[in-house]
Amino acid sequence: MLKSFADYIVFTIINLAPGSRAGEALDFFIYDTLKIFLLLTTIIFVVAIIRSSFPPERTKRILSHKREYIGNTLAALLGIVTPFCSCSAVPLFIGFVESGVPLGVTFSFLISSPMVNEVALIMLWGLFGWKIALIYIGTGLLVAIFAGIFIGKLKMEKHVQDYVWEMQVGNAEIKILTFREKIDYAREYTLGLLKKIWPYVVVGVGIGAFIHGYVPQDFLARWAGRDNPFAVPVAVALGVPLYSNAAGVIPIVQALTAKGMAMGTVLAFMMAVTALSLPEAVILSNVLKKPLLATFFGIVALAIVFVGYLFNAIL
């Protein structure tokens, strides 16, 4: 239905010829923008309602004194539903470790929460289909679980800034929201998020549409295809400074895939964009000493590179 609406506007109202470059690019742009905003609005709203039942204070209580493996798995899953903003990473981290959440379990949460987020999922679902979106959730959770277990095994508690252990943490009561309040929260959250990301989506889809219409087929196959062993690490390195623009980056990447970029490379790039970010590293340096911060980034980056190679080999 959206497709015929886009076709109608481009080929009937604006009267561009079907099959022409400008026509196809504009058709693609209108169709994708409509589809993505429809998905974004409905799914963010639903996710926000679920989130209103999982404030971080509650997640903390669930995870406190959990053993590894079970704790890491729970933490990665709760990372999906607990609202997280990198600007709250410091109070969140302190709240977790102070209430007895093991360090490795805390990291599973810190990795999964930004990486397996609804915006990335919607964009992947809308542009690559539900299979790729599911693979992204599944491998994202596995990366978070195993990187957390590994960091836990390294026993790096002494590399947490000393003041963290001495901090006095109060106990905020957990408010149980009424259904009405949940709806209000979800509406506010959805509008706020849409307001923040819509320019990135429009620009991203616009660039994507341009690439679709004007870049020659298989243009990228030589550099970013599955035969180039450096493509995955380079994609991960490029993903780190592109933080928080998942909404704008995915449409561009989708267009690049059509021009020969391999799927494993795409997944690795997406994970690096969402999970590893320079601003988050700066914020976390308030609570983590350098060796632990470097270990965290190193292990997550390695895990993501591994995911990239794996899917380039099997997809």
Binding site: P83, L92, Y163, V169
Partner: protein, 75 residues
């Protein structure tokens, strides 16, 4: 009345602080509005997501912002 806005300096924290000041002025209540940015003070309230609003030592909400008119209803 003492109103504290807890936050480490993110954009939402600033907008909440401005909204609180507007609410206090418009309602004409006698209140001291402070911005709390240091982590130990924020943690003392047990708040794990910022911004948060504290009125007379009690956490009213955390992890979201609010408009001036909503805050007026809480004063």
């Amino acid at each position: 009345m003492k109103i504290e806005v807890l936050g480490t300096g993110c954009a939402k924290c600033k907008s909440l602080y401005e909204a609180v000041k507007t609410a206090v002025n418009e309602k004409g209540v006698d209140a001291e509005v402070v911005k709390v940015e240091d982590i130990p003070s924020i943690m003392k309230y047990g708040v794990m997501s910022t911004p948060a609003l504290v009125i007379d030592g009690k956490v009213v909400f955390s992890g979201k912002t609010a408009s001036a008119s909503e805050i007026k209803g809480m004063l």
